[in-house]
């Protein structure tokens, strides 16, 4: 598998580290135990397009948001995660 880093271009998988699903959002302080349990442990096991964080640690050290099909490994979109690149901080 290769990932096209929006900053570096096409690179081999070995330069990247997988973090996980971009969907879970940290619950507000005081959220119920069920909400926290869901946030920490429960993931949708999607057969199809998922949105994931990948880290280009062996390259420009930017975090990326990658849409990948879990059935085919086809990547349909890659964008810098918020904060990747100071100029694009609100991206």
């Amino acid at each position: 598998m290769r990932i096209v880093c929006p900053f570096c271009g096409e690179r081999e998988l070995g330069e990247f580290t997988y973090l996980g699903d971009t969907k879970p959002v940290r619950p507000e302080a005081g959220a119920s135990e069920d909400e926290v349990f869901d946030y920490v442990y429960l993931r949708d096991n999607v057969a199809g397009d998922t949105s994931e964080y990948w880290y280009h640690g062996g390259g420009c050290r930017a975090w990326l948001k990658v849409t990948r099909n879990t059935l085919t490994h086809e990547i349909s979109s890659i964008e810098p995660a918020a904060g990747a690149g100071a100029a694009k901080v609100d991206a």
């Binding site: 900053f7 570096c8 330069e15 690149g85 100071a86």
Partner: protein, 209 residues
């Protein structure tokens, strides 16, 4: 009271043995030169200050710093892209150090001195590309990686900053690699192994290529 003296020493001081390594030919087809005693400062834009850093750097260096994987040359410094909104300033002789750059650039950027944290290896020779192809997944064909091209990438599982300098007078390409000091000896040995079949001419120099 004990007097300490802090003499700078290359992390490759033991590993680098000047001379020829591997195949003995009329002329070694790979040359590895360690460049010693350089000034290296990394600038990273503060949050939301990418554009401000580019402006301040233009005022300081007279050129716009690289905003893509490439290098920009000034009369006395090389600005090397190292990631989004960040770059290295490589120079000699104390002209561009954290101390001299901070007044103009510490507003929009954080500066960190990497002079003694990196080793700089310059690679050239008729088989330089072939030797590097064993270590790097970057396409180094002249069409894909011309003079001035740069890459933040990995070689032998080690993060490096790679760029193509100006060609030698004989037309041969020059590839420069900045590697973390503590990984330098390991990468150096890997480069020697990779180049051995072509013959490697080993040296060190005080001059930036």
């Amino acid at each position: 009271m004990v007097d300490f003296s802090w003499a700078p020493r290359s992390p490759l001081e033991k590993a680098l043995v000047a001379g020829v390594h591997g195949a003995r030919r009329i002329e070694a087809d790979v040359s590895l030169t360690e460049i010693r005693n350089f000034d290296l400062v990394q600038l990273m834009a503060r949050r939301g200050k990418g554009t401000d850093l580019a402006k301040a750097a233009k005022a300081r260096f007279g050129v716009v710093p690289p905003d893509a994987p490439k290098v920009v040359q000034t009369p006395d410094a090389t600005l090397i892209w190292s990631g989004p909104d960040q770059f290295f300033v490589l120079s000699k002789g104390g002209k561009h150090t954290v101390r001299t750059l901070a007044p103009a650039l510490s507003g929009p950027a954080s500066l960190s001195d990497q002079s003694h944290a990196r080793v700089l290896i310059s690679i050239s020779g008729a088989k330089a590309r072939t030797m590097l192809a064993k270590l790097s997944s970057i396409d180094l064909h002249p069409d894909a990686f011309p003079v001035g091209a740069a890459a933040a990438t990995s070689m032998d599982h080690t993060s490096v900053t790679l760029w193509r300098g100006n060609d030698r007078t004989n037309g041969q390409a020059v590839f420069n690699v900045l590697v973390f000091a503590t990984f330098a000896e390991s990468l150096w040995h890997t480069m020697l192994d990779s180049g051995a079949e072509y013959g490697v001419a080993i040296s060190h120099s005080e001059n930036l290529a």
